[in-house]
């Protein structure tokens, strides 16, 4: 499996964010997207997630499931956490687990996903009472509950404590060992060794 981008361009409300961007990430590889604020890190992740129009160039997932589009094979964890305060932690996770999983997609039990981020004790608590870090962990639990090969993580470690960062790093390593692809936009180290780097907004 290989995520390929060639000559990628992004235009948002008439302003060119980046252009001529190319990279290739093979299965089992992680790439960290670096760059100053406003360099287009989030735009790049959202473009791969199919949420921002591809203004120029080409994006493809080679060796993926031909039945599904690239966004349907990717997990996106952005700044907004898609959590409903009126639902409990478990209900939030179960909804996304059944909505994001295709009929044939492997699905871990929501309990296991909650356990992976130490949320099992909070399962029956309405999400309105979660702290910022707990919301982030619930949001990340989604990517464990449904198996998708590409992980797009926007500032995944923000608001996470040291223990949760370690858990996330361990999960990312397991995902890479299973042949998955990770693309993370971040300013802080995410705890993975041997990652590729992509710098945005600097003359190449």
């Amino acid at each position: 499996m290989r995520l390929l981008a060639s000559d990628l361009g992004c235009v948002r409300s008439g302003r060119e964010v980046f252009a001529g961007l190319g990279f290739s990430i093979a299965g089992g590889e992680a790439m960290v997207v670096l760059g100053r604020n406003g360099a287009g890190k989030s735009s790049l992740l959202r473009m791969i997630a199919g949420l921002v129009r591809v203004a120029a160039g080409r994006l493809a997932l080679e060796g993926g499931d031909p039945e599904f589009t690239l966004p349907e094979q990717a997990h996106y964890v952005g700044h907004q956490d898609a959590i409903k305060p009126a639902l409990t932690v478990q209900e939030n996770l179960e909804f996304w687990a059944s909505y994001l999983a295709g009929p044939a997609t492997a699905k871990a039990a929501p309990e296991a996903a909650l356990e992976a981020f130490a949320l099992a004790d909070l399962a029956a608590l309405p999400a309105a009472y979660l702290s910022a870090g707990q919301r982030r962990r619930l949001s990340l639990a989604r990517i464990v509950a449904v198996k998708r090969p590409v992980w797009l993580l926007d500032e995944p470690t923000s608001a996470l404590d040291a223990l949760a960062q370690e858990r996330l790093a361990a999960l990312m390593r397991a995902h890479l060992d299973g042949g998955g692809i990770i693309l993370a936009a971040t300013h802080t180290p995410i705890g993975l060794a041997g990652t590729k780097e992509l710098r945005l907004g600097e003359p190449a």
Partner: protein, 222 residues
């Protein structure tokens, strides 16, 4: 299919827990209908004659109340992004959300009609006709409304623009809904003709609404 069932369950659960939709809609409906006799005076014959129209207008306005949150809430917390990334088609997701919205706001209005019809002194037969036309017609109001809700999703004061966008489109539904209810009450047109057209309008809205709303959502992405 399990994804759509989960979405339906989630939206109904949210509406019940937040308590915004059904009780507020029914209360608003009650207030509109109660105000009319104060404005017109206690002329029972007049009220009886225009009763079906009042009930239809009240239901139309009440059904608009919570519509602006239909997609805006999901847009603000990022849920809409994930809905777009699912392999479930967006058109079906829109239709499911509209169905959940109708169950939590439209259906309670239909159930409230018999009580409100008493206020206006309607005959039992007319009351039944109004309830039946609203049962058939309110889904059309919701499905037409989804298009407006999808267009207004990124606007901060979406509720106002939504009413302006949606109300003109609901005129045909209003005309044939009231015509069917009136024909049952006073004649002379048989009930069947306007009622069948109303059914047709609802079916058309089922087809056009989700596709137009999904197109509007995709276009409004950026």
């Amino acid at each position: 299919m399990s994804g759509l069932a989960a979405l339906l369950e989630r939206d109904i659960r949210l509406a019940v827990r937040l308590g915004g939709g059904a009780p507020m809609g029914v209360l608003f409906f009650l207030i509109v209908v109660t105000l009319v006799p104060f404005a017109l005076g206690p002329d029972l014959a007049l009220l009886r004659r225009i009763g079906p129209a009042i009930l239809w207008l009240g239901a139309l306005l009440a059904s608009l109340l919570a519509l602006d949150r239909l997609f805006a809430a999901d847009h603000e917390d990022g849920s809409l992004d994930l809905i777009l990334m699912s392999s479930v088609s967006l058109e079906l997701a829109v239709a499911t959300k509209a169905l959940a919205h109708w169950i939590t706001t439209g259906l309670p209005l239909v159930i409230a009609v018999p009580v409100l019809a008493l206020f206006l002194g309607l005959e039992p037969w007319t009351m039944g006709a109004v309830a039946l036309t609203l049962l058939v017609g309110t889904p059309a109001l919701t499905f037409i409304g989804t298009v407006g809700a999808a267009l207004a999703v990124t606007l901060r004061r979406g509720g106002l623009i939504l009413a302006i966008l949606v109300l003109p489109l609901t005129i045909p539904v209003l005309i044939f809904g009231v015509a069917a209810a009136n024909s049952a009450a006073v004649g002379p047109v048989p009930f069947g003709a306007p009622f069948t057209i109303l059914c047709g309008l609802t079916l058309i809205s089922f087809v056009i609404g989700p596709f137009a709303a999904a197109a509007a959502l995709r276009h409004g992405l950026e």
